[in-house]
Amino acid sequence: MLWYDHYKMFFKKANSFNNSININGAKEKMDFAFILSDSRQQTVFKNNGDFSRTNLTANIGVELAKGLKFRSITQIVRTNDTQLDPTGRNMFYAINNARPFANFEQRDAKGMYSPYFGDAVGVNHYNFNFITENAKVKDLTIDVLQSFNLNYRVNRFVELDAKYGINRSSYNSRYEIVDQTANEGAEFWQYWAEFYSPRTSFGSPTTGSESGEINERNFVNTFQNFTANATIKLDFEKDLKLKIPLKSATLVGWDYRKRETTDFWSYGVNSPDFTPYRAVNMAEYKIATDATTQFATYGVLVNQHFDWGELAGASAGFRSDYSSAFGQGSKPFTFPRGDLYIRPSSLGIWQNAKFSNVLNEWKIRAAYGEAGIQPGAYDRFPILGTATVGSQTALSTPTSNANPDLQVEVAKELEIGTDFGLTIGKNKWFSNASIAFTYWARTSENVIDRVDVAPSIGIGRQLTNSMTLKSNGVQASLNLNVFRSKDWNWDFTANFSKQKSWVDKVLNDAQLIKLSSAGSTSYIIKAGDKIGQIYGYIFPTAVNQLDPNGVPYIDPAAQKDYTVASNGYVVNKTTRQPFASAKQYALGDPNPKFNMAFINSVSYKGIVTFGMQWDWVSGSKLYNQTKEWMYRDGIHADYAIPVNIDGQTEAWSSFYRGAYAVRQANGTKSYFMEDASFWRLRNISVGVDFTKIFTLKGFTKLQLVLSGRNLITKTKYTGMDPEVSSGTSNSAWDRAVDNNTIPNIKSYQVGLNIGF
């Protein structure tokens, strides 16, 4: 039997090209900068489309009168994306779950790909070549960003500043699926591109849309922001001739924001027999979405700042905002802030002290602030669902209800820190260093979430101010000039951060379910648990192991049927399947214990520059859902690893199959929760500027830079990359699952920077 390397079949080396031209200048009362940049990126998947972005920026400043400056910044960005699977996850899943004897490049007598090769290849596989051949997408985004800024320095006391910005982003997506009725493989297996293509299609294949579909989406997002600030500065010593080193700065501001979106999705299914055709030729069409949102918020902010010489400073202020989420007639929400600092190193007594030669700077700082996070534009307005039903319409109760009693979510943050400046070495080595240390604590109250309600209420979830979250952490950094001479400079930076985040309170002390967008794994929100806590079945490692409540996982009467296998897991002596607890438990905090980064940069005469960054993430955990899926049909290489069970050593497939299937097939299990700590060479680069070596007429810079990213990774994680997350992007909850996410790619860059 022939074996195929599916990674070779579907992946390729990809190239990216980035070019940029920068023209800038200044003349008397005017300055300008024009930048044109262009980026073209191929993807590592064959036939998955590509991505390009062109960006034009114009920045013009004019001094209209004395102290009155006007600036306009215009940016136009065109992004063109034809990637069918932008994250690659669907494709990765399809090929990771295929046994290697399937030749996905094989075409049938009609010259067509088949979407599926039968269960023997693995029930979750499909042929991505079929998808790329039958589905095409074109996403075009045009962003226009314009800002105007008028700044008037009236005198040395007063400065007025007005800024208006508008961002308009228009996104058009056209997604076409061709007629597949002539494809015998598709017809036989009833596998249609719409089912397996990563893009959302609206027509359902079972309603005849396998005979062609055109989906189109137009989304426009317009954001306007107007701010007007007045800053009043007063120096008590200079302006008021008082003998006190007090300076005052008062900021009074006005801030207005408005966001408007329109979203329109339409589709047509059942294409005509002739080609070419457009959506208007489809037998059935429908508007799937026509939605618009408007959200406005505005208010005032006031801040008063005092500095006492260089010794200390403090400020206090508030901002008070109205929000359209609460409707007209609502009261504004007001939140305070404040900060202060002291620099003992500025005192004469310090500067005269001997130790100030070494410890020449010391600052202590603290800040406190509160902020309101508004509910979504219409989260407080209960509605009914709408639908078209044939020639009629239908109203329905939504599965997730808005809540007219919803309150603003309140975030409170305290930060305390200190900074040191040191002069250590007298010579070229370790001449100076700075150290910064910060402790922070954050509380989020009235956190809004769509939480489950009892199904007998007749709805599924309701937006509720449902919990209090807390987090705290420390951050520290060290900047060290390792060596400095006339020709050489070597700087070193180390950053350290550590944090923990937990659920402090939950409404009614309930257990809330949080679904992951990464597949079947779900999170549970329970007071006292860490944020992002995954729950699952425990695989004990001792036959008499007790659960957190002191109850044995395995009934003592049944313990005689179990033994510990050579890989450490408790297994049933007869079935050789691992044992999984009957209930689900927290599978350990997935968040890292700490993160560190080590950065070195060395330069020689400005000719050669060298940079290197190592990242260290310690104690993080990742749920290897990719592996669990590959255990389903015995596709994972682990199946070849022998295990000694009750005296017999063999590569027991019953063990591995059991790891996937016991208690719940593909259920979340401690077995797949892995240590994802890692060391990674994030970046390494070498640059040479030829204008510093030769005299090149007309050039001010001709620098060649060679760099590489993610070239080395040290980890015990058995998946492809310990750093991925397949969950909702930027979610604090949903980040500890690896479900067929494409690993961070190793990349090599060659760059040429030319200056005239």
Binding site: Y322, V389, A665
Partner: protein, 543 residues
């Protein structure tokens, strides 16, 4: 101070801006109507459509396309547990909920349930944890049916205050009859599968007083009676029908799906009440009184020409697609080619020469699946989409949009077979068999009559059993039969079963021990957010 004027100027500007922006705060959701829309005649009629077909049967917070919404998921689970279909996909434990404790093949080997947990009793308990979210298969039917009850309650709340044009009494009567009918239907489903339930008469609220399944069935009856009373209160049959005609999607109103009259509704109610009695007792414990009660209701039940409550697909998939119906998840080109795989035990119910088998089943390369996922879902049969072309013979799977008529509640065939069963069990064997013959004729089975052939009581019961298995399949009621006939009891077994081993060896006299829980515990998602109040009935089946 010299800069005072700037501050004043700024304050003035701020005030002006503030006044100008105030109108920006006056937003409401421009995309959807608010619940106030239900205060109009057209609003409540439109909600009567969506509250039932979308809220009640299609949309929940948890969903999975592998088994889909109510008509394919919740109904499919019943068919799985009734061994009409099998599955190997593990979504919501599909492969385990209908996996027998053991199958003993003709060669004497016994294959136990290979899953862990290895009994369905244990599976139900293991599945029923709130943490399982949408994987808990007990969640679906409960939630759909309480959605339906909630929507009906909202209609009943609003119907009293809405001012209707024209013949308000008849329009109100139609909406009330519609709402009470679906409440009655929902309580019938709840009380026929859950060990306890809640009686809820409010919209967007609930209570924690759990009652026994018997009380829930009583509540079903009470609501069904109210539906009939409401329907009969309509002063104009025309306005009543016209109102229902606006509620029921027009593309459902073909075949038997047109609006029911008050009399037809009463007959639908009688059939459903007959079913509620029949399916919630085991046949062994049915008394003559019970049989007579079933017979009386069925005799006043659905006629062959009556309209019933149906659902259909359309080309755009506005409400449902064929894949969201059990038959649409089952038909395939190759045996086992779909999520639901036709069971060998269903295929064996057809007597030799039954044209319905020739029309609907095709023997192909056997589906042998994975031995670690089940012991009974291997099959040689594929359900044929659109039939094999025999004219005048019933077709059980039709994917063409609109072609398949799903009988959501009760239908004529089921009512006739209830009559037949009651007659056979009360000594009128031949009268009962005559009904079976009539149903077979109706479906074009092409089988010789069994009435008048002197069948024994046991033989007659077997004719009834196999006929009901065939006729009532794919509609989410087959499990009721398996339960009341004692097939699923762990202490009993089904003998003479056709079964396929994982290697494709066919047994024709296999013994299957199912061992399925008869009534499910209340789903943990409900109990977590609505724990039972003091004095509630037990929410867990003691079995």
């Amino acid at each position: 101070m010299s800069f005072k004027k700037y501050i004043y100027g700024f304050a003035l500007a701020g005030t002006l801006l503030g006044a100008g922006c105030k109108k920006d705060l006056a937003v409401s959701n421009p995309n959807n109507p608010t619940p106030d829309a239900l205060n109009s005649e057209s609003g409540i009629v439109t909600f009567a459509t969506g509250g039932v077909y979308i809220t009640g049967f299609r949309s929940l917070k948890y969903s999975d396309g592998v088994y889909g919404p109510f008509f394919s998921g919740a109904m499919g689970f019943h068919e799985l547990m009734a061994d009409v279909i099998g599955a190997d996909a593990a979504n919501a434990f599909l492969n385990q909920m209908g996996c027998p404790n053991s199958v003993t093949f003709d060669n004497g080997t016994t294959v136990l349930n290979p899953n862990s947990p290895n009994t369905q009793y244990a599976l139900v308990r293991s599945s029923n944890q709130n943490a399982n979210a949408g994987s808990n298969f007990l969640y679906y039917e409960w939630s759909f049916m309480y959605n339906l009850i909630g929507a009906a309650n909202l209609m009943l709340d609003k119907v009293e205050t809405v001012s209707f044009s024209g013949d308000a009494a008849s329009k109100k009567a139609a909406i009330k009859a519609w709402a009470y009918w679906w409440k009655g239907y929902a309580y019938s489903r709840i009380g026929s599968i859950y060990y306890a339930g809640l009686i809820n008469n409010s919209a967007f609220a609930t209570n924690a007083n759990y009652v026994t399944k018997e009380k829930i069935i009583e509540e079903a009856g009470a609501n069904l009676d109210k539906a009939v009373t409401a329907a009969k209160s309509a002063t104009s049959a025309g306005v009543f029908a016209e109102t229902l005609g606006k509620i029921i999607p027009s593309y459902f109103q073909t075949g038997k799906g047109a609006p029911v009259t008050a009399a037809m509704l009463e007959r639908n109610v009688n059939s459903l009440k007959a079913r509620n009695i029949l399916v919630n007792k085991t046949t062994a414990t049915m008394t003559a009184t019970d049989w007579n009660a079933v017979l009386t209701l069925a005799n006043n039940g659905i006629n062959s020409s009556d309209n019933i409550f149906t659902a259909r697909t359309d080309a755009r998939g506005d409400l449902y697609t064929s894949g969201q119906l059990v038959m649409g998840r089952t038909y395939s080109s190759l045996a086992g080619g779909s999520t639901y795989k036709i069971s060998e035990r269903w295929a064996q119910e057809f007597k030799a020469g039954d044209k319905r088998k020739e029309q609907n089943l095709k023997q192909t390369t056997p589906y042998l699946g994975q031995a670690d996922r089940g012991n009974a879902h291997f099959t040689r049969w594929a359900l044929v989409d659109g039939g094999t072309g025999l004219s005048g013979v019933a077709v059980y799977a039709k994917s063409t949009p609109g072609a398949y008529e799903l009988h959501v509640a009760v239908d004529y065939e089921e009512n006739e077979l209830m009559k037949a069963e009651a007659l056979i069990n009360t000594g009128k064997i031949d009268e009962g068999l005559a009904i079976i013959d009539a149903i077979r004729t109706l479906q074009g089975a092409g089988l010789a009559a069994v009435s008048g052939t002197g069948l024994s009581l046991a033989q007659a019961k077997e004719e009834l059993r196999s006929e009901r298995r065939i006729v009532c399949a794919f509609r989410g009621i087959s499990f009721y039969d398996a339960r009341r006939w004692g097939v699923i009891d762990p202490a009993t077994s089904r003998t003479g079963a056709v079964a396929l081993t994982n290697t494709g060896v066919v047994s024709t006299n296999a013994t299957i021990k199912y061992g399925y829980l008869d009534y499910w515990d209340v789903p943990d998602n409900e109990l977590t957010y609505n724990p039972p109040a003091a004095g509630s009935a037990p929410v867990k089946n003691p079995k």
